[in-house]
């Protein structure tokens, strides 16, 4: 009797041990292309033994995926900071970040604080910053022009050679270019709608300029590389990547100011491995790791010490695109209130349908 008991206990114990070792820890990460490069994943696994499973996505897709499962299926996601609060209020797909588990000393402090503020719902923080960047113009500077504005996308000089995304950043960019302040009108739907209808008229009237609306970064880079497009609204990283291949092409901060975004780390509501998630967050903010991510994504991070490790070519491209004035002029996206996107959606649909 006693012997069987011992055997049974041993069997159970070894079973538990076996399942623990067989079920190596896993971190399911929902992120953007380039944010979790293989070398970083390998280093992380070597140090912690945790396997990272990456799913590539974009803002809308992340929210849609998490909404469909009510926050399950992933342990860590990376939406932009302006899209966190409204999605949380609307669909309750995240859980608050425990700030005591985050190594705050690794961060650029101002960016950490502003992200915490903009992703707060009912006094709880839902996001910490990771990668930041801007939207502006990618231009072929062979024409010799020195200053650019978003209005050039509508200029006759670029007829049939223009590309941009048919998404909200384009609307915001044109609103700023037309002298409006759409961010200030976020809480005033009537005023915001007025601004949008001005932008709509403008974009419809110069739709003939557009070669194609791009939807993924690679599609845009192909259009610019082949010379089919010479002026485009796009991300800084794309412009810098092209600058490496062709000195004539570079990213330019437009006169009305580049649009700044910060991609965050958030914890999906039904994530299963929060500990691993915190470990990953702290790991990628180490300066040398952050520099690896910067060279893979082409985008800078919120890690304070990383600048010293970034390769020279990229930091030169960066300096060519941003002087101090252009940096100060970056318009950072404030949190989007729910409901605005319905208004914008209708405008975008109408632009798409216009002949």
């Amino acid at each position: 009797m006693k012997i069987t008991k011992v055997i049974a206990t041993a069997a159970v114990c070894s079973g538990v041990a076996f399942s623990a070792s067989a079920q190596a820890q896993e971190l399911r990460l929902l992120t953007w292309g380039g944010y979790a490069p293989q070398p970083v994943i390998d280093l992380f696994e070597k140090e912690t033994g945790i396997k990272v499973k990456v799913t590539l996505s974009n803002n809308e897709d992340m929210i849609s995926k998490l909404r469909a499962t009510r926050g399950a299926g992933f342990d860590l996601a990376q939406p932009s900071q302006d899209r966190v609060a409204s999605a949380q209020q609307e669909f309750r797909i995240y859980k608050p970040v425990d700030m005591s588990k985050i190594d705050k000393s690794l961060y650029i402090q101002s960016m950490l604080k502003s992200t915490q503020d903009s992703t707060s719902v009912n006094g709880k923080t839902f996001g910490v910053p990771h990668v930041w960047g801007t939207s502006g113009l990618i231009v072929n500077t062979a024409s010799g022009k020195s200053a650019y504005s978003f209005a050039d996308l509508c200029s006759e000089d670029y007829k049939g050679k223009v590309s941009y995304r048919l998404k909200r950043p384009t609307l915001i960019a044109f609103a700023f270019d037309m002298g409006e302040d759409p961010f200030a009108a976020y809480d005033d739907p009537v005023k915001y709608e007025k601004i949008l209808s001005k932008v709509e008229d403008r974009l419809v009237s110069c739709k003939g300029n557009v070669k194609a609306y791009w939807s993924g970064g690679d599609a845009l880079i192909n259009l610019l590389r082949s010379g089919e497009v010479t002026l485009a609204m796009g991300w800084d990283a794309g412009g810098w990547k092209l600058n490496k291949e062709n000195k004539d092409i570079n990213y330019v901060a437009p006169q009305s100011g580049a649009l700044g975004w910060v991609d965050t780390f958030v914890l999906p509501a039904k994530g299963k491995n929060d500990e691993a998630a915190y470990q990953w967050i702290n790991f990628v903010n180490r300066p040398e790791i952050a520099a690896l991510i910067t060279s893979s994504a082409g985008q800078f991070t919120a890690s304070a010490g990383a600048a010293a490790f970034v390769e020279e070519g990229l930091s030169n491209s960066y300096k060519a695109s941003f002087d101090q004035a252009a940096l100060d002029n970056i318009k950072w996206y404030p949190p989007v209130p729910a409901g605005l996107e319905t208004l914008e959606g209708k405008v975008l649909d109408r632009i798409k349908a216009a002949q």
């Binding site: 849609s64 609307e90 194609a212 609306y213 729910a338 996107e341």
Partner: protein
């Protein structure tokens, strides 16, 4: 209970059990999701996470010209695609079924099938490489000196149509081959013997005989085209307006599941109506067309 009754009820249970997988499939994977979509389409967002019953999403389809025009455009282009596919596929099917013999027959059939071994996405990108401004055809025309500058052949309705016809070809050829196969050659010979010419034979003998195949091919092609997403979006570029694209946008980029569901239900209802209308006009029954 008599023995026969018992045997009968046993048989019924067996039949029921055999049907079970199908019934479960139909219920859980077809019926239930559709009911849920119907349910979602009938509500409206009031505030954060609060919804109430409303017909507003359906109203939006009929009051916002953009939406029903997109639908109309999609439907008209799908009908056109179906007609073109039929015209292109009929001679091919005739050749495979009646003219080609033995090995060449299976080779031809395989040739129709091979493009479908790669995914639709890859095939569409293939078209894009051929047709873009810096693409194969454009540079070929330039080297031959036929055109002066690069030609853009992407991003217009003709290209979308070409892509759609190409994608649907197989689904027209297969039912046509299988019906034409059954056509007795002597019937065609009889038409000639009675003094008819090629056109008469086609009109009076071949087409009426192949009608069920034509109708089933048309239904499949029409439904596939109407529900296609990749080809019109990628080849159509900035002016591509396709109804499925609207549904995708509502669900994914606008987070408006309510509107997207309403569009989904409308697509289902309206396309079923169009198929029904087509069957009435061609005086065919659905069961007969699909039974072939």
């Amino acid at each position: 209970m008599s023995l026969t009754e018992r045997w009968l009820s046993g048989k019924r249970v067996a039949l029921f059990l055999l049907l079970m997988p199908l019934l479960l499939y139909l219920f859980f994977l077809i019926l239930l999701p559709h009911l849920e979509i119907l349910n979602i389409s009938l509500r409206e967002r009031v505030s954060y996470g609060v919804y109430e019953f409303s017909l507003g999403n359906y109203q939006a389809f009929f009051t916002e010209p953009l939406y029903w025009r997109t639908f109309l455009r999609t439907a008209v282009m799908s009908v056109l695609t179906t007609a073109i596919t039929l015209v292109v596929a009929f001679p091919i099917a005739w050749y495979i079924a009646k003219v080609a013999q033995g090995k060449s027959r299976s080779v031809l059939f395989l040739a129709c099938l091979i493009p479908f071994w790669v995914s639709e996405l890859v095939r569409t990108y293939g078209w894009m490489i051929l047709l873009r401004e810096t693409g194969v055809i454009s540079s070929l025309l330039q080297t031959l000196g036929l055109v002066d500058g690069p030609v853009e052949m992407l991003y217009n309705d003709v290209t979308v149509m070409v892509g759609l016809v190409y994608t649907s070809m197989l689904f027209m050829v297969v039912p046509l081959v299988s019906t034409l196969d059954g056509l007795d050659d002597s019937l065609v010979e009889a038409a000639y013997d009675l003094g008819g010419n090629g056109w008469h034979a086609l009109k009076e003998v071949v087409i009426p005989y192949a009608m069920p195949g034509i109708v089933s091919g048309c239904i499949v092609v029409f439904m596939l085209t109407l529900g296609n997403y990749l080809t019109p979006t990628l080849l159509g570029g900035k002016d591509s307006l396709w109804f499925t694209e609207q549904i995708f946008t509502q669900f994914i980029t606008r987070f408006n599941w309510e509107q997207g569901s309403a569009f989904g239900i409308l697509l289902l209802v309206l396309s079923s109506l169009m198929v029904w209308l087509g069957l009435k006009l061609s005086r065919q029954s659905f069961t007969e067309a699909m039974g072939r």
